[in-house]
Structure formats: C-alpha cells, structure tokens
C-alpha cells in the first residue's frame, strides 16, 4: 500500500479527533442560535467544562463523574447567559464575552489554588480518561486492502465521545425537523412574537435551548481534558469555541452542514499539524499559521457573500421584548 494512502488515513483519523470538540460546540451553538440566542460564550463554557472534568476525574478517579461535573458547570454558565440575555434582555454578545473572560480567569485562579501546578490539573491516568475503543472486527479487517485501514485505523479506535458527537448530528436533525420541540425552537429564533401569540412561552423555550447548549459544551470540554488530553491546561480551548462558531455560520445554521464545516475545519487543522516544518516540492515550507487561519478566512469570504448567501435565524441576537 502506498505511503500516501497511509498518510491520508492517518490525517483523516486525526481529523475525526480534532473535529469532535468543534462538533459538540458547533451543535451547542446551533441549538442556542436557532432559538435566537447568540452564543459567543461557547469557548468559555468549554473551558470551564474541561477544567471541571479534569479536576473531578482526578479527585474521584472516575471519568464519568468528571463528565457529569463538566456538564453541570457548563450548564450553570449557560444559565448565567440565559439570565442576562433572556430574563433581563441584555446584549447577548456582551454577556457571551463576559462568560469567556470569567471562564478564563476562574479556571486559572481555581487551578492555581487547588492544584499548584501553574494553572494545570495533575495528569490523569488512563483509568481516569476516556480511552480508545475498538469497533467489532477491527482486528480482522486490518488486512483487507484499502477498506481495512479505512475501518480499522480511521473509524475504529476512538473514544466513546467521538462516536457520540457524530451520532448527535442525525439526532439533532430529527429533533429540529421531526418534533414539536424542534418546530417551536426554529420558530422562536425566527419570529418570537408568533410563538408568543400562539400561547407558548418564549423565555421557557429559549432557556431550554440554552441549557442544551450548556450540556453539549460540557461534553466538548470533557473531551478536551479527559479524552484528547490527560489534564487541564490553562486556556486549553485555544479559540476552538470561536472556530465552532465560525463553522456554525459557515454551515448557515443547519445540522448536516455543521458536521461538514466542522470536518473541513478539523481537516485543515490536521493538515496544518502534518505540514509543520515539512518542505513540499516546488512550494517550500508552508507557513502553518496560514493553514490554521483558513477556517476564519473561509468564513469571512462566506459572510461577504462570495459563497452563497448567509441566512441567520431572523431573531438571532435580538432580546424578546413584549411590552412596548
């Protein structure tokens, strides 16, 4: 088998791993924004989730408790965002930025105070982490040309959260387009007044959406610190929340395109890592920063209208005010 094929498989394998937190966060943003609440605080919620997961997993030795802690803390931050922007009709962007700053500062202070390791949490053993699981027949399929490596090396051998993230995409689509909750969720992001006059509480619906976003960000955070890595490191989200937001916009706020946008951005990231310091024939050394900034460049190009029309939910970011 050619060297290129092996390289491709390993890059795609990395793509899945890198895309997972983007996908969790992107779907989180999708729920929130389709309900009309802009969520710029994805980054912050991932960060507190990551911290809580690593801290609790370390203290209890049980990774699932870490995951639950991540979800709880992230949902609390979501509720804070909801309280500011739904109950008090504050500016959603400002509230989101506040959450990011709070998350960054809080995780650092608590990390220093509790673990004395420069803001990081102690390393987790493999028992305290989500580890790779082998899909059935992965072993025996190995030898089948092409399909074997594709299955055994790329699709198999990820941790449970990776599979969960990808399974959430069809589930989200089903919820959005096949259930009463989805119908109402989509309606409240387009025209909350129509929802209100239909006798449904706008605030309750939006809180539900924001809480779901919190749960998903909790998963994203736990993945970062207890699956992809084995500890919490200061500001370890490193802009992935914003990358997820870009993917959401790039995907025009729709479930399946969110998956593809996250995969694309993840792929670019994986390629950037491969190309680090590599000198390509005729081109020379590719500046990795350029590739890493591609997702943002693509998003800006999209927003500028070069790749079709961006159509955000009409009421996205607008607090619902009933009284005149």
């Amino acid at each position: 088998m050619s060297e290129w094929f092996t390289l491709l498989i390993s890059t795609l394998d990395a793509t899945l791993r890198v895309s997972t937190p983007l996908l969790f966060a992107g779907l989180a943003g999708l729920y929130s924004e389709r309900a009309g609440v802009v969520d710029i605080g994805l980054e912050g919620k991932m960060l507190v989730g990551a911290f809580a997961a690593a801290a609790i997993a370390h203290l209890t030795g049980v990774v699932w408790l870490g995951l639950i802690a991540a979800i709880i803390v992230s949902v609390l931050f979501s509720l804070l965002h909801g309280f500011a922007s739904i109950t008090h009709r504050g500016n959603q962007v400002v509230s989101g930025v506040a959450i990011n700053i709070l998350a960054s500062g809080l995780t650092m202070v608590l990390g220093l105070a509790w673990f004395h390791q420069g803001g990081s949490t102690p390393s987790l053993t493999n028992n305290e982490r989500f580890t790779a699981i082998q899909l059935p027949f992965a072993e025996s399929m190995q030898t089948v040309p092409y399909i074997g490596p594709l299955y055994s090396d790329m699709l198999s051998g990820h941790n449970i959260l990776v599979y969960l993230a990808f399974a959430l995409v069809p589930l989200t689509w089903w919820v959005f387009y096949r259930t009463r909750f989805g119908l109402r969720l989509r309606a409240v992001g387009e025209n909350p007044k129509a929802v209100d006059t239909a006798g449904i509480s706008v605030a309750t619906l939006r809180y539900q959406a924001v809480i779901i976003a919190g749960v998903l960000c909790g998963f994203a955070g736990a993945y970062l610190s207890t699956a992809q890595n084995a500890q919490f490191i200061r500001d370890m989200t490193a802009g992935q929340g914003f990358m997820a937001l870009a993917a959401l916009i790039f995907a025009n706020w729709r479930p399946w395109p969110v998956l593809f946008a996250c995969l694309l951005f993840g792929f670019l990231d994986a390629v950037a890592v491969r190309l680090q310091g590599v000198s390509l024939p005729h081109i020379g050394t590719v500046p990795v920063q350029l590739i890493e900034s591609l997702p943002y460049i693509l998003t800006v190009i999209l927003l500028a209208g070069f790749l079709g029309k961006s159509r955000p939910p009409k009421a996205d970011g607008i607090p619902y005010v009933k009284e005149r």
Binding site: R180, F181, T197, G199
Partner: protein
C-alpha cells in the same frame, strides 16, 4: 356553547392599562353581543390595539374585569385566551416566514411530541375548515412566497383551528386590494352565519358602515360612544373619533398640467438579492400636477421612490429632472438631487425622515445642513435654525411649538409635519411624497392634504405614493398603478374608482389574458 348564560360573548368592565406615564386604556367598558360583527374605531394611538392585546392576553390589564360568554375570566397569557375561544388576526401577521402554512397553523397546537401524526390530523381538519368557510390556502408553501391576502387567511385558519368563537381582526384590510378586502368580508359573513362573534378594529369608516352591526368609538384611551351601525353615519363617527367636526375634502381647482418636470423612462431596479423590484417603468409628471402611485404595498413602489430620490441606485433606464439626465452610469446622490430641485418626503419617517433623538429644530434641517445660512465657520448656527423652525412650526401648526423637544416626542402627525415643512420650505420643483398620512390622525390629514394641494397649485410636479386609495383618489390628477414592479395602468382623476383601481392593483387584466 354557553351562549344561553349571557347574550354577550364578551364583556369588559373598567379595563385600565398604563404604560409608564401614558394611560393607554382608561376604564373601558364594552359589551359585545354573541354573533355580532362589532366594530371598534379610533385614531392611531387611541388605545384600540392595546385593548385588543389585553383581551388576547398579550398584555395584562392593571385593573378591570373581563367576562366571556357571561363567565368572569382572568386572562394572563395568549394560551388562556385561546383556551377561552378567542382568536386574533394581528395587524402585522404573526407568521414565521420560512415555515409552511401548515407549520404555522400547527405551531403551539401540535397535539403531540412527534410532528408526523399531528401534521396529518391538522391537514385533515384544515381541509374541512377550508371547505366550510371558503378559506383555501396552499398548505405546503413557505408563507413568505404567498401574497398578504393568503397570509391573512392563514391567520384566520390559525384561529379557527384553535376553535375560536370570538375572532378579533386588527386593521385587517390595510394590506389588501379592494377585491381581497371584499373576499375577506365574505369570509367574515360566513363566520358570522356560523355564530362566530367578530371584533373588527379599523380606522376606515367605510368598512364599519359596510359590515358591522354595532360600533364603539375610542378616543385618547377612553371609550367615548357606542352606536348601532344602522343608526349612525360616517360624519358622526368621524366627529366622535376626532372630537370635533372634520372637513373631509380638499378643494381642487381645474388646472392643466404644464411642461414635464420629471420624466422617467424604462426604469428598472434590482435589489441586493438580485430580484427585479421595478421593471421598465416609464411616466412623466408635469408642472402643477399630482401623479398618484397606487398599489398594494410591496409591489415596487417603495423601491421606485427610493431610486428616484437617489437613496438606492437604479440599474437601467433614465430619469430626466428638468435639464439634467440621470442614468445608472451618471447617478446622483440625494444631496445632488436636492440641489437640482428635487425634494423627498420618505415613506418611513422614523427611519429616513427624522433622527428621532434629535431636537425638532435639528431634525428640521436634515439634508439641508450644508446650506450657508445654517453654517458658521465650523459650527452650526443654532439660533438661526431655531428661529427658522419657530416660523415653520407656526405656518404648519406643529405642536408643541418647542424647537428643543426631541423629535421622538412628537405625535405621528406632527412628526410628519416637521418633515413636510422641511421639504416644502426648500421650494423644490419636484416633490416625491411617500405615505404622507400613514399613522397620522384625521385632523392632521386634512391639513397635510391641503399643503400638498397648495404645492400643486403653485406649479410643482408631485409624485404621491400611498397605500390609502382614498388619499390617492382625492389628491391625484392622474393615477398610475403598480403591480409586481410593473405599471399595470393609468387612470385620470375622473375615471378612477375603487373597483377599476383594485383590478389594476391585482393586475387582473393580465392574469385573465394569460389564462
């Protein structure tokens, strides 16, 4: 139902609602007989919409009580109102644009957590309703692709699907052609025959006379009169609404049109999303002539007006303004057009006519702020501006007179007078006017109409864009009608009536020809 308990479907006792310092509803008493069509009229800001919102549970009254079919009810939200059998068709439709009619109707009344079964049930009962009341709508088309008339039917279906026995319609004909309005009235008659009680909120006296059994009049947040429609008249109702006698017509003297001041040839406008809003429009306006532009709103009139006033660019055709020719390549901005003697009273005075936080005397120079008389070396001459404003306020009876009052604190009519005064004092040759009396009280309408007529008599060319047919018919020397971005016909002042204008507005001739 429980109608035998009481002959009133709905009864209000002492309903009061306050917004900050404004008393929107002041001890309102109202009795509506079951099975009646009951009209409520009043000027803008009289408190009609607030009252309806209270009945529908959208706002909560500060005090007072409400009885439905004789039973005291406290309605705190729309859900309770719906459960009590009240349905409402709002002035601005409460539809989700990118949802289908079916989804919109189901929203909030889905019947189950999964959509599939509930959609089938809804479809069946909607087909039933459509047959009974003649309310056919395409159920699977996104509503933003449907005409406003159809969207309104969807709103009515929404209420009926929820088993409404009291139907409130807030200014239902504002967006309809006269023929569509007739259709609506037919539907309402069928509903009435079926025992549905109908509350019709409007400011159009003609509609009250045409279809209601009883009418109540509101003024300044109070209920001032109740009448049986058959025993009242339009002048009496108008007087009750305004609180004084109203002279409802404007003098027009015969006057032949002079030389063409504005000539528009094959003008086309394409909007940002690539849709052609104005298609090959040509017309001329002579000196001393008012040309009315009629049409259901959203058929290209706004875009035409904005293109002519330089706010948006046009993509094809040419405009001759006096000696100047304007083409897409040699376009002019609003400031240049103003210097060429063109003035514009925009349709949306809040967004384009005024800067609401500005004081009145500042709003009054907008667009003319570069003129020498307002300018010192660097600063503006506040004194000159304020004095000039005081003089205009006197001439145009702008109330209150205070030049330092914020523009947003004037009533709709007085805001419009500020804009109109500004543009008329500039003494333009061509005046473009959009919706001059939208949201303006009756007293001010007459005044504004008179000023427009005076401009005509002074030999100016005037383009009047309005969705109020009566206004167009009263003022215009000629009327052109737009439908779907095209001019579908032209009528003289004497030829025009609601019927032939309505047919042109719906472009009925072309549709028959193609059928």
């Amino acid at each position: 139902m429980t109608a035998q308990h009481s002959k009133y479907a709905l009864e209000l006792r002492g309903i009061t609602k306050r917004f900050g310092r404004v008393l929107a509803n002041d001890h309102i008493d109202l009795q509506i007989k079951a099975g009646d069509v009951h009209g409520i009229i009043g000027e803008n800001g009289a408190g009609k919409s607030t009252l309806m919102s209270i009945i529908y549970g959208f706002y909560e009254a500060d005090s007072g009580e409400m009885l439905i079919q004789g039973q005291p009810m406290s309605i705190r939200n729309s859900q309770q109102a719906i459960a009590a059998g009240i349905g409402m068709v709002h002035q601005h439709f409460m539809l989700v644009d990118n949802f289908t009619a079916l989804e919109n109707i189901m929203l909030g009344a889905e019947g189950g957590a999964r959509l599939k079964q509930s959609a089938e049930q809804a479809r069946a009962s909607l087909n039933e309703l459509a047959k009974t009341y003649g309310l056919e709508v395409p159920l699977d088309t996104p509503v933003d692709q449907l005409s406003l008339g159809v969207q309104q039917r969807i709103e009515i279906l929404k209420a009926l699907y929820r088993k409404a026995r009291i139907l409130i319609l807030d200014e239902p004909t504002g967006v309809l052609t006269p023929q569509e309005a007739d259709d609506l009235f037919r539907i309402l008659a069928t509903l009435k025959a079926d025992g549905v009680t109908i509350l019709l909120i409007t400011h159009k006296l003609r509609e009250i006379m045409a279809i209601t059994d009883c009418v109540s009049v509101m003024r300044h947040g109070k209920m001032v009169a109740h009448r049986v429609t058959a025993q009242t008249s339009m002048p009496e109702l108008a007087e009750l609404m305004v609180g004084r006698k109203v002279r409802q017509h404007v003098e027009r003297k015969a006057q032949p049109a002079g030389a063409a001041l504005l000539e528009v040839t094959n003008l086309s406008v394409t909007d940002a999303s690539g849709v052609r809003r104005v298609k090959n429009v040509s017309f001329t306006i002579g000196a001393g002539e008012i040309v009315g532009l009629a049409g259901v709103s959203g058929n290209g009139q706004s875009e035409l007006l904005q293109a002519l006033s330089g706010i948006i660019r046009f993509q094809a055709g040419e405009v001759r303004l006096g000696d100047t020719t304007i083409t897409p390549k040699r376009s002019k901005n609003p400031a240049q057009l103003r210097r060429l003697g063109l003035a514009h009273v925009p349709e949306d005075r809040h967004r384009m006519g005024l800067v609401l936080p500005f004081q009145a005397y500042q709003s009054q120079i907008l667009g003319y702020q570069r003129e020498a008389r307002y300018n010192a070396t660097i600063t503006l001459k506040d004194k000159v501006m304020a004095d000039e404003y005081a003089q205009r306020a006197e001439t145009f009876d702008i109330r209150p007179r205070d030049p330092h009052l914020q523009s947003s604190n004037f009533s709709g009519g007085n805001q419009q007078k500020i804009v109109l005064a500004r543009e008329i004092f500039a003494d333009p040759q061509v005046l473009l006017i959009g919706q001059p009396t939208r949201g303006v009280d009756i007293g001010a309408i007459e005044f504004i109409h008179q000023h427009i007529m005076d401009m005509r008599n002074a030999g100016k060319a005037i383009l009047l864009v309005s969705v109020e047919l009566e206004e167009i018919m009263t003022l215009s020397d000629r009327i052109i009608v737009m439908c779907d971005g095209m001019i579908t016909g032209e009528l003289s002042h004497d030829e025009a009536n609601e019927k032939n204008l309505g047919l042109l507005m719906a472009n009925a001739g072309a549709k028959e020809a193609s059928a």
